[in-house]
Symmetry: D3
């Protein structure tokens, strides 16, 4: 986000105010559940490597276990197939190894 401060400062503002301020702060699901849903959403969408990396890290920071993250990614196989899952697992492995 910080890297767009020069050319598009509102992009970071929208992420903070809308994504985090409005959405993540909603009641009904806790932060661990929300990070698991985010990881599932980004795995499914594809072409989201930087965001997946951030949210796998954040997920671990708020208390998700590596197993829960791996299970969430594997859970997508029947719905999106192996390529999206292998892409996400590659990123998860990298994040796990760097902590």
């Amino acid at each position: 986000m910080a890297s767009f401060q020069d050319i598009a400062p509102d992009l970071g503002k929208y992420i903070i105010e809308f994504a985090y301020g409005d959405i993540y702060s909603r009641p009904g699901l806790d932060l661990k559940q929300r990070q698991l849903l985010t990881i599932t959403c980004l795995t499914t969408q594809g072409d989201c490597e930087p965001e997946l990396s951030v949210h796998i890290n954040t997920g671990l920071n708020v208390g998700l276990t590596q197993t829960e993250i791996i299970e969430a990614i594997l859970h997508c196989i029947p719905y999106v197939g192996f390529p999206r899952v292998m892409n996400a697992m590659t990123i998860a492995k990298k994040v796990f190894s760097e902590r």
Copy 2:
């Protein structure tokens, strides 16, 4: 699934054996969490109306509340935008009203 019994009987078999037998029965996440991830995955992917309908129903059957399902769908807005979320919410509303 039953509707493909005549032209592609193995399709139902794969869903039962692989999707349900192999994936849903894995440890690490409970059934409610898995249904919530499935709903998120199908919301993100788009063009999955029949499957979303089935899994919102199944989610309610295994104990998810309507609020949890609505929150999971709304949670996707920052990642996939409003159209995918509105499509999924339309289906959720229909499923809720028919139970």
Copy 3:
């Protein structure tokens, strides 16, 4: 949007406050240009029929011509192929005929 007032009232609020309040009101592009970009974005994404219908109508309301809308949709052929373009053109034809 109004149809989610009962089960997810914040969805309409986010569309009004974020999509319209924050994004459409930005300077740098006028409303006609923004509607043309929205039509292009929804054509590309696929599975956005209700939103395309709304934005083709809104585009005509803010002064886009039918020709500009048709050209924006045709312009996508080299980037997304014929199926997405034919889906969008089917909706454009319906909207044009109903006004």
Copy 4:
């Protein structure tokens, strides 16, 4: 295609000249192989119901068997998951039953 003759006559022209004239007439793959690839491509992409319907019909017309078409659709499961495959199989079943 004919249905866009009034609002976008060049759309049909591009399909005939580019898709059929330039691409389908290329050497290296025969018409049956090309229709099987088209069915695979449309199954994968999703939200292509009208085009899938046309090409499953055309595939049968150029000599593909129902089994080959069903196998091509089932073959996509590991790469795109069950929802896309079930959508395509629903259309295949409808086309088969109407001939």
Copy 5:
């Protein structure tokens, strides 16, 4: 395009004849508008980094301002979410800095 001259020379020919010859030369939208639509289309689709880079450069060459390009990318947030927009903004930033 030039890089496929050896293994698939017709690919470059189709881009020149169909994409540029047939589509970009159509009346109804000017070149600046068409480049803005292309940038929107590629931002939405995802996994189009090389093409986005080319068209952001071409957009600047035909007279689009950096602001117009940034606004077109930001405009997609409500429709495709933040990840696609951040991917495109990363490329825009790189193109801007290299000119």
Copy 6:
């Protein structure tokens, strides 16, 4: 696949048992046809570079010619547009040059 042996050993198992064991071994289409469909499927889906690389190699190993692979990729242009096709052709060129 081997690279996930430590964090998600079942992922490789599912690919071997389900993708190869169940799907590729089905009758009705031969191995060359199946690899051509896989290449088409991955070209269409996008963001599948590692898998495309593997399957273009495997396709050549089971007897597909470079021409057949190039034709399968070019065949997708009318359905998915030039960017997905150029991404796949870039990978094909790299695989061809490394053998």
